[in-house]
Symmetry: C2
Subunit: 324 residues, 2 copies
């Protein structure tokens, strides 16, 4: 089983066919960075049209039963998520509405301070806000997963404590392997996994050691080390694949409508666009390469199966329904 | 089994308890008259809060399995509907979105011309519009029932012809029994039932012979006559109960945001408010009275069971899922 817990491609039949070629059974796709509720619904409408146009390749995922159905019919189940709480605006009632429409992950912040928590690019991190506490409780109730991939440390640790259900860092790597601002320190990872949470390893070059030049072996050794340190069952893949996107999209991710100035985020003035992917992970067709890489660094078949998909599958099964 | 296929009460614990007292297993409730998409979502949020507050009395209905669940646990299943296509605005993609949020009936018009069809108060009825044809097809695809209760004759007959799936008139009576503008002529009823559709009998005084003074016997004789004429299986109840509403609400129904003048609709300048209900049907507690009234005019047990709920149950079962 193969599950990728974060992609934001310029979706097309080509990309969906590559998912099948790479035998990817489920993908968590980002459908909002800065979008309002209505704009997010429009993005869902676009997905509905893809589901209608490509019924032989993809289907909408809402529970693990949809992954089973996808596997049985040689398709990929697509699960919706947001990298920002912007789709719920200032309205806690929209949490349940968005869940009913298929949302399964929501980041409490995207780099900046939000109404709920602090992003990893802010100078100060005062932790989870008053509204944030209410929204985490509501997300727990309906089965919308708290995702802290782009959040600051204190906010992440507090979210893990406040949440009654396991939370996730869908796409990041350990900071002591690649000291990017988006990568996570030991106490943050520990808070998430000790609450039963999950972390997905990112293949976005800015999160990799040596960026685009990162070797498959270095990546896989990092995975194996993390599995040893925290327990294999807490990890999976969250590739952060942004395939076929024009550079205007990374600019939208970074600046949305919150600034009139250019913000380079993880890039820089001389490299403002999307970075080049590592040669061994171009797109969905290369999940087999990672699988072989993990075996090559000595991980067992069971561990590799867990990392490639079974750990996310178990987490999805426990996380997407209403609280008991 | 008891199903009421149209109510718009001022919802409260009192009303929900009366549903239980009247053993009403399912109610189709109106959640939009003139509301935009976002306003409709806000109304859904209010319902979500009622579902959370009164889990022992009501549950959200989306398929007949929810009616079975309601019956097994002594609750009422609440199904959402719109009396106007305003919630979908000018965006056909919202049909599927609204269905995912639980919408199961949508009138193509509410008295006036809409983007889709003509309402029963317009002087001219040019029939289903270009967009109307597209939207009926989309409603057929996802399982959102076309409801023509407030539509003009030609539009209704054309909708029945265009629709690949049975349509409904959820709340109205025959025009030859009570010649109200909202009541339906023979050719309209025939077009609906010949396509396998359903009509719910209204208890709203403006639709009754002798209005608030209508007798139970007159109502039940009308039902029996309709069953003889068109076949019992095509009929049910759609009470149009507007319990506990202030008169400002009937003004909103009639004028929305489309006029600055007062429009009395079925009322008049000296009787602008909600009319008084007939003495034998005050609210949800009186469904048993109708049941006894139908028996008293000679309908068989099977026919009475059909009218009181089983016919709508069968129609719901066939109508709310995606087209095969």
């Amino acid at each position: 089983m193969r599950i990728d817990c974060l992609q934001y491609a310029n979706w097309s039949e080509k990309v969906f066919r590559q998912m099948r070629e790479g035998q990817v059974d489920a993908v968590h796709v980002t459908i909002a960075y800065h979008e309002s509720f209505r704009e997010t619904v429009q993005n869902m409408e676009r997905w509905n049209r893809w589901f209608e146009r490509f019924p032989d390749l993809i289907l909408k995922g809402q529970t693990v039963a949809d992954i089973d159905r996808a596997r049985a019919t040689d398709r990929t189940a697509i699960f919706f998520g947001f990298q920002n709480p912007s789709p719920m605006e200032d309205d806690i009632g929209l949490v349940e509405i968005l869940h009913a429409l298929g949302a399964r992950f929501m980041q409490l912040t995207y780099n900046n301070q939000s109404l709920l928590a602090t992003g990893c690019y802010e100078a100060e991190d005062p932790g989870i806000t008053r509204m944030g506490r209410q929204v985490i409780r509501e997300m727990n109730r309906v089965g919308l997963v708290v995702d802290m991939s782009h959040s600051a440390d204190r906010s992440t640790i507090e979210a893990a404590e406040i949440s009654d259900r396991p939370i996730a860092i869908t796409h990041a790597n350990p900071h002591d392997w690649a000291p990017a601002r988006r990568n996570k320190r030991d106490d943050v990872i520990r808070a998430v996994v000790e609450g039963g949470g999950m972390m997905g390893f990112s293949l976005y070059p800015h999160h990799l050691k040596d960026k685009s030049d990162c070797s498959l072996q270095s990546f896989c050794e990092m995975v194996a080390r993390m599995a040893d340190r925290y327990g294999t069952t807490h990890f999976g893949i969250g590739s952060d694949l942004c395939q076929d996107q024009p550079d205007s999209v990374v600019e939208w991710m970074r600046t949305g409508r919150w600034t009139k100035e250019i913000d380079y985020g993880e890039g820089s003035a001389d490299a403002p666009g999307f970075p080049e992917m590592p040669s061994w992970f171009r797109d969905n067709r290369d999940f087999g390469t990672i699988e072989r890489g993990l075996r090559a660094v000595g991980m067992s078949e069971a561990e590799v199966a867990g990392i490639m998909g079974e750990n996310w599958y178990r987490f999805f099964a426990e996380s997407f329904g209403a609280a008991p």
